[in-house]
């Protein structure tokens, strides 16, 4: 009597092992089959804002806004914010306007750059001088061409 009970036990232990094996394999295969859904959901590559010529047009800002030394304002390329201003010495400069602390857009107030969200402050070279911002703003090369402001990534040599 007992050996039929025992081999029942062995049998369903074997059965459970087989179920674990085939179930596990099933999930593995299902993972492979669901790969397209993963690729479909994963975020799509964001197009490079500087495009193929390596420069981008600054929107909502014209050269006239930053002719006077100490003047300037917020603009954008694509959906990246930038600030463009002319220093008191008359040099045209541009930075990404996303504050390195929590991502609010900073503002140019004539002598320094201020972030209203948590009171972070940067100097005119973009270095974070006070408040929570951990790192300086990234500088961009800016030049004006037939009435339009252009921004381009800064290559290593031309640090401000």
């Amino acid at each position: 009597m007992d050996n039929s009970a025992s081999n029942d036990k062995i049998k369903d232990k074997g059965r459970r092992r087989f179920l674990a094996l085939s179930g596990g394999l099933g999930l593995l295969w299902l993972g492979a089959a669901a790969y397209p859904v993963y690729k479909f959901i994963s975020p799509q590559p964001v197009p490079d804002p500087f495009g193929e010529e390596g420069r981008a047009v600054v929107k909502k800002l014209t050269p006239a806004d930053c002719v006077r030394p100490g003047s300037g304002g917020n603009g954008s390329i694509g959906n990246i914010g930038v600030i463009v201003f002319r220093t008191p010495e008359g040099e045209l400069r541009a930075f990404t306007s996303k504050c390195t602390h929590a991502g609010c857009n900073v503002n140019f107030t004539g002598e320094k750059i201020v972030c209203h969200c948590h009171g972070g402050q940067y100097d005119l070279t973009g270095k974070n001088i006070s408040g929570p911002p951990p790192k300086p703003l990234t500088q961009l090369k800016v030049f004006e061409e037939n009435g339009v402001l252009y921004v381009a990534p800064l290559d290593k040599t031309e640090k401000a």
Binding site: R15, F18, L19, L21, S22, G23, L25, G26, W29, L30, A32, A33, Y35, P36, K39, Q44, P45, F143, E144, E145, N146
Partner: protein
Amino acid sequence: MNYPVWDLAFLGSGLVVAIIATIHIFISHFAIGGGIFLWVAEWWSGREPDGAKIREWLHKYATFFLIYTTVFGAMTGVGIWFAIQLASAEGTSLLIHQFVFVWASEWVLFLGELTVLYLYYYGWKTNSPRLQLWLAGLYALISWGSLFAINGILTFMLTPGDWNTQNLDIAAGFFNPGFWPSLFIRTLVMILLGGLGGMVIASRIENEELKEKTIRFCVKFVIPAAILTPFFAVWYWTVLPASASKLIEGGVVGVGGGRMEAITAYFLTAVVAGAMIVLASTVVYLKPKALTMMTAIAIFLIGMTGITGAEFVREMARKPFVIHGVLYSNSLWKNKAADPDYLAQPYLEKAKWHPSEMPSSLERGEWLFRLQCISCHTRDGYRAMKKRTASWSGNFGVKWFERMHEQGVMPPFEGSLEDRAALTEYLLSLHGKKENAADILKAVEAELNAEKTKMILQEAGRVPDAIPPEIPDNPEAVKDVPADENGMDVQKDNKEVLQ
């Protein structure tokens, strides 16, 4: 042009091969898998206490197996041979002359396979169990042997390896790079199908306890394929020629740029089918009593969708060749296509099969279409040209034929400029557009001349390509643009020319 081309409306001779081949694969893979299943089941029934009852069920399995495989399997196998003769006579002739003795040996195996199956089936009551086990084993072995033989020829077509028309090295051609992975994948799929076939018959067993035991035995046949197929698939992937894997990869990686490649979709069909089978077998294993015949057939058919997907991938990866790198699908030899002035000669004048009197440009276009394009395309059916040339203009057609092989899925066009115009005229006539080949040629020449003059102008005066509205005199911009390598300041030079 060496052989006539079968101008089959709507279907196209290529699809006839595909249909017959797919049916044959469904049956032959089950035939060999079922052979292995019979052998193991014979051995298993010998060891089980209620072996007699199992053998009774096994006899029902053998009856279904005998009729299903011999009536349909063998006939469609011969059917493929008939169909490829009509789809690509040049390719078939090359394979037959190269592998005549492989096919002859495969025939001996086929004869043996059939006879052993008859001895096993018709001697069912009179043979001793040991002899039956021997016969079942022999059947499985011989039928697998016929796979071994035909697999060499089949994989040779996609991956000829270091075989070429000079060295005619049969061993290298037969044991080509694609041979072993494809052999293992097919064997695994066969074992899988043997099990699934077993389940179809087992689902009709009345006695619950015997049914449960038999179905659990059948499900175990799914496991080897479930574990090993991915590994061999990867191995097969590495062996594919660059252009073939580019087509498949082009689908996945390049998707960002274009719509999903058909090959990727079929590749996915095979993967999804694999997943569905493993899950379905797990469900069946949980509750074997619940298995009805309809469910078992459904699982068997999942296997078929997977096989269809995999076979389409293998066939499409070989585009545009019949034998990769040797013979194009429209029977143009690759080494001949390499020399451009052979290609540029007027086509009908060197073709063996041509109209019996001087054709008009439209008829010439139709003959070109029939002799070069019909082996893969049709006018209005499968891979219809009507759909593909809906938005064509005369100029585009002529220029397209020059570049169509650069994509990597089409053979180069064979024929002179007039031939190209004639074919364009014919394709446009499919849409009722009446554009005479001569006018198309004039338009093309006019366009070519316009381009040439622009090129000359550019060369002489170095006028920038598109003349911009006005030259920006932004000092800063000038500063940045680097001087030309040979020291000449490019920007300055343009100004002088324009003053």
